[in-house]
């Protein structure tokens, strides 16, 4: 249930401002792809174009093609809602629904999209929480509010919520940037486990994290402030971190700028 993403000639705009330009890449199934690069270079924007979340912002639009196993996500008749059901997303800051319990949070995606039998729902909730390595910590208080968990637990709750709808692809936008090292480790372990089932794309500012978890890495950069961001280089992570082709990649990875 894991799919390949092919992007070709993608531009993304915020109103008149072009945020990213001419991005083309292939994201392989059952693998973790990391996006690295300095702040404001368009990594998150690009990530959000992959499940049509970019256009949620007023004035934002996209040109180009994103193919999910050959099917264009930006086809004129495609419903963005169905795209987002197939391509899930975890955000930078944990954002559980404050009015819902832990159980309801995990079940939210299914419940809000239609009726699901209670017995079936119980199974999916348990499976998703186990999948997110959170089950043992919360199994005795599923009815308690999701907002009462710690930051790291909340983020895993959000991951459980995202995988409960059984997406093909999981997009993660700096999922560990608000977490302590122990919670970060928990999420990284989880990602290694999830990649057997999902295509995972992660944006990160933490180079060590990219090196630790990802199979392939793309380096984004922008020529100058105000110019659109571009992909400078994309390759196997091991190669990117040991022997990059581009000078800019090497400078960034070795900490000479950014």
């Amino acid at each position: 249930m894991s799919k390949q993403i092919q992007v070709s000639g993608l531009d993304a705009y915020y109103g008149a401002h072009k945020a990213i330009e001419d991005v083309s890449m292939t994201i392989e199934p059952r693998s973790i792809t990391a996006f690295i690069g300095p702040s404001g270079c368009g990594k998150s924007t690009f990530l959000r174009t992959l499940n049509r979340m970019h256009e949620v912002i007023p004035g934002a639009r996209v040109e180009g093609k994103v193919l999910l196993d050959g099917e264009d996500l930006y086809g004129s008749t495609v419903a963005p809602v169905s795209v987002r059901r197939m391509i899930g997303m975890v955000f930078q800051r944990p954002n559980p629904f404050p009015t819902m319990s832990i159980y309801e949070n995990v079940a939210a995606g299914l419940r809000l999209n239609g009726r699901v039998a209670k017995s079936q729902l119980d199974g999916i909730v348990e499976e998703s929480l186990k999948g997110a390595n959170l089950w043992n910590e919360v199994k005795d208080r599923l009815g308690k509010p999701g907002a009462g968990l710690s930051g790291g637990q909340q983020q895993r709750l959000c991951i459980a919520r995202a995988i409960a709808v059984k997406p093909q692809v999981l997009l993660m936008d700096e999922p560990c940037s608000a977490l302590d090292p122990i919670s970060t480790l928990a999420i990284e372990d989880l990602m290694a486990k999830l990649k057997d089932e999902f295509t995972i794309v992660i944006v990160t500012h933490n180079m060590q994290q990219a090196a630790r978890v990802s199979d392939r890495t793309a380096f984004f950069n922008l020529a100058a402030q105000g110019k659109p961001g571009k992909v400078v280089e994309m390759d196997e992570t091991s190669r990117m971190f040991t022997n990059p082709t581009e000078k800019a990649t090497e400078d960034y990875i070795t900490g000479r700028f950014g």
Binding site: N95, P98, T99, V165
Partner: protein, 296 residues
């Protein structure tokens, strides 16, 4: 960097200490002054109203009771007030809430939403007597409809609507964008996101806003006087015939020269305050019951 750095630890001077205490004292004084009218109004109403606050007052109307007679009650006015406020809420809460949802979720600061915002502000400034005159002129004089509780409800709903829109709008704007995005990212449609995620999150605040609006219109006299007319008898049907309402009852009784009537006016005012408090309590209970934060 042009900040000057000092090499010694600075101490708070006596002058600053004195100023601090002075301002603190002024703040307490201002608070005390603000509380004086509130407490004195409550005190006066309770003191003068308790005398006639009995079962007869709550269960009888003023039918066949003259100004000089003892006894009589405000049952007809309580029924009228409750029905009129309920009807007014039924008109203005849906319209106000939908308007607020449009402004926050769909308007995007476009021309229409700016126009709506402007007219809501204008509506906020409408004097209550003008709202009453409008319904009197349009509904009763032009269309030839009779005085009724329904006409009164329409008049006060004009006053309620902008309050509901403004408070609901504020509460909806407080809901973080993160939550909407989290819902969209699960493949939930926009309208479902609004109904299932945004509104429940803002519910407590919206209820508080609605209750403030209810409290305001429950005490309106002028628009009710012009549209509901008044009566001494019980009229359960807000759609036909004159009704009564508590502010109107107070106004009517207080205008009579006898102690018995004046007493009834005070008790009417006390009843009105209690009804508004009770409605508030019920709304809080509903909000508490709906919120999961209490844990189950």
């Amino acid at each position: 960097m042009t900040t000057t750095t000092t090499s010694t630890i600075q101490h708070i001077s006596t002058g600053r200490r004195v100023k601090d205490k002075l301002v603190q004292g002024l703040v307490y004084l201002a608070f005390g002054l603000a509380v004086v009218p509130l407490v004195s109004v409550l005190w006066l109403v309770i003191q003068n109203g308790l005398a006639r606050f009995d079962m007869e007052f709550l269960t009888h109307s003023m039918r066949n009771i003259g100004a000089r007679d003892a006894g009589g009650g405000a049952y007809h006015a309580i029924v009228g007030t409750l029905e009129q406020v309920l009807l007014a809420s039924a008109i203005s809460v849906p319209i106000g809430l939908l308007t607020a949802i449009y402004l926050v979720e769909y308007g995007n600061g476009g021309r229409l939403s700016r126009a709506i915002s402007f007219f809501v502000d204008v509506m906020t400034g409408i004097p209550s007597v003008v709202a009453g005159l409008f319904i009197l002129a349009f509904w009763i004089l032009v269309l030839g409809m009779p005085f009724s509780g329904w006409a009164g409800a329409m008049a006060v709903s004009i006053l309620m609507m902008p309050t509901v829109v403004r408070s609901a709008e504020e509460m909806l704007r407080l809901v973080p964008t993160d939550l909407r995005e989290a819902s969209y990212a699960l493949g939930v449609a926009k309208w479902r996101t609004i109904v299932k995620v945004v509104l429940p999150t803002a519910l407590t605040g919206i209820i508080t806003g609605v209750m403030l609006a209810v409290a305001r219109v429950a005490g309106e006299t002028a628009p009710v006087l012009l549209t509901v007319f008044f009566t001494d008898s019980i009229n359960f049907d807000p759609f036909s015939g004159p009704q009564m309402s508590l502010p109107l009852y107070v106004f009517d009784q207080a205008g009579r020269p006898n102690d018995t009537a004046i007493d009834r006016a005070w008790t009417g005012a006390l009843t009105l305050i209690l009804i508004v408090m009770l409605l508030n309590l019920v709304a809080r209970l509903i909000a508490w019951w709906r919120s999961p934060a209490r844990g189950r």
